[in-house]
Amino acid sequence: MFSKLAGFTGLPAQIAKIAFMAIIDAILLTMFFSALNKHASTIEYVISGVAIAANFVYFAKFTLPFKFLLPGLVLLTVFVVVPVAYTIQMSVFNYQTGNEVSKSDALVQLLNNGLQPDASNTSYDMVLGHEGSLYAAVLTSQIDKSVLLATTQSTVLLKAGQYTLDPHGVAKSAPGFVPLTITEAANADSLISNLKFPFTHGSFIAPQGLDVASLLTQTLSYDAKTGILTNSATGVKYVDNGNGNFANQANKSQLLEPGWKSFNGFSNYTHLLTDPAVRGPFIGVFIWTTAFALFSVGIMFIVGLLLAIVLNRKIALRRFYRSVLILPYAIPSFMSILVWNGIFNRQYGAFNALFHTHIDFYNSVWLSRGIIILVNLWLGFPYFYLISSGALQSIPSELEEAAAIDGATPQQILRRIKLPLILQILSPLLIASFAFNFNNFNIVYLLTNGGPTDLGKTAGATDILITYTYKTAFGSNNQNLGLACAISVVIFFVVGTVSLWGLRRSKVLESM
């Protein structure tokens, strides 16, 4: 099969390569123009970067290693490095529920929200349609039954006789007015939310549905020069508070919603350490995460190592033990976790049913933590058995023989020679396992969902940093993406430091 490829050189190969690159370029170019159309500048940059790199690497002569590296490099850069950079960027922004759009979008929304019904709450029965090329409406006041013909340019009061009323007393027609067809009416959603018929100065009539409209007054007005938002009804002036909101000039704690995402320096980080509402849960979660990861790795390693020592010697039923005890590693872990979740269910769970108890595991802090460790042990000890057994077998038998000749007992050989060697061999894997468990989202989320959680709190007793990040970013109350990213950065830092320290120790870095 490969010998065919081997003969595939010279001109045909050149043509194939050019054709292939032409297809890639065509795809990238199409994508680039779609991005251009939607004004998505970041996506434009990424696509052009990829296109330039691909053409350079595959057409230049001296870039051979990069011909092999590029596809992986592109995937790694676009879908790992860019999100990580974006995480760091988001972590220095006030970016949360109520502050998630750009300033200009927030301003549009504020001005729209600044519309208020007039004093007498005037509303109209409405028939939508056209007058000439303009959208128009025939409006019957629900208060005094006067009838208006409004277009997007002007509004006129109609005299009796100019319109016809239906049995409910609603005007349905007017001179020059053509109602919407049924199809037009069916697709009028966006039309309804955007239409405004000017009425008097500063007020207009806006549809509230397909057949109702109300008289609204613009109370907020924005002065682009001074950057001040004024409420004409109350006279209150609002200014940019520098933290993504307009605030009352006289009383800065009065904010207008919505705000926008705004740069706030290291506030998210300082909040983690100083804001009592954030600091408490954060520090608690941090300690539990570290304890959970250390303890999990420790206990899994001990059980796995014992197992490896026991099964390394000849023992009856060895094959049986080996094949059964490896099962947890072979079963998809999310399923095992969900099954364990069910076993400890108070009402339906197998544990309470078998032992005729009524233990409410998920409502007790320490029982929840206990079952997380227990289930993690179930999931993880086979892996540790496998790596320990591999390490045991890699120890040269001469060492053992030499020690035995010097009169060492088997226990001494194990404790003084084998264990230190195993620890040394396995330390990179133990550190990797610590890093994995530090971010073991599945076990926490699927087993206890971080609970038990006190009412109104974001973090529960078994939440680890990564599930806490998830809840901070996508929880049901306040979604604080900026703070979530700051926590992610803290995790990067912890895991990165521990891993680097481990790699230095194991001297992997020097051997490259």
Partner: protein
Amino acid sequence: MNLRALPKHLFLWVLVIFTLFPIYIVIESSLNNTGSLATGTLVPHHVSLDNFKLLMHNTGSVPYFKWMTNSIILATANALVSVVVGAASAFAFSRMRFKGRKIGLQALLLVQVFPSFLALAAIYVMMEKVYTVFPQIGLGSLGGLLLIYLGGSMGVNAWLLKGYIDTIPLELDEAARIDGASTVQVYWIIFFPLAAPVLAVTALLSFIGTFNEFVLASLFLQDVNRRTVAVGLQQFVGAQFGQNWGPFAAGSLIASIPLVILFLSLQRFIIGGLTQGATKG
């Protein structure tokens, strides 16, 4: 059996029971048509295949086979593409000397410690933006999720494969080169066939990893028909615990059996792969 080995057997049997307990519960629940798992005994009372039938026929709110298909497509695509692309990178790192190689390797080593879901908030916002331009690969699409998985598995796979390739003797390449082979030919003719078993194991580990992935899938796939089996089953069993337990157990069994068989039959290679990094130290 001699008496000295008794404590060892005791230890082993405790572990065996611990290991088999949840597995037994799942099998029992899947065959038990009373729905709940609280039977109070270890022997199933009402053995039937009702739970399995329910999964086959219920396609509206619990499109179980759709979920399985999604999971298998995602896991297979990720395994194949990430291994092919990762192998090329690993080959370059192992066999070629170029500027930036050492820095690149160190960066790779560091990157592969971080699971890609750490940047979940950023990924979400980013893919939300991608959706407005390319809905096919944006938030909510299997394609977008696959791209994120591919990016995430690149570091680990390239690093793992580089370790293996380092163990293939250089003399083989050199002999081919003397015969006039180019680097690209060495890659396809010498390296690829030699590394095939190792590539298969790496692909299998990627497959299992993707199959188990939950965070990003639950964030990405809101539409019930686009869920993976992990997200689908979690939502299903979480919604109505007592009632859905039996079908859930049946579904877990169906999904686990092929993976367990695959794993056990390739056990020797997988263990070789796991301990490779360790025994080299």
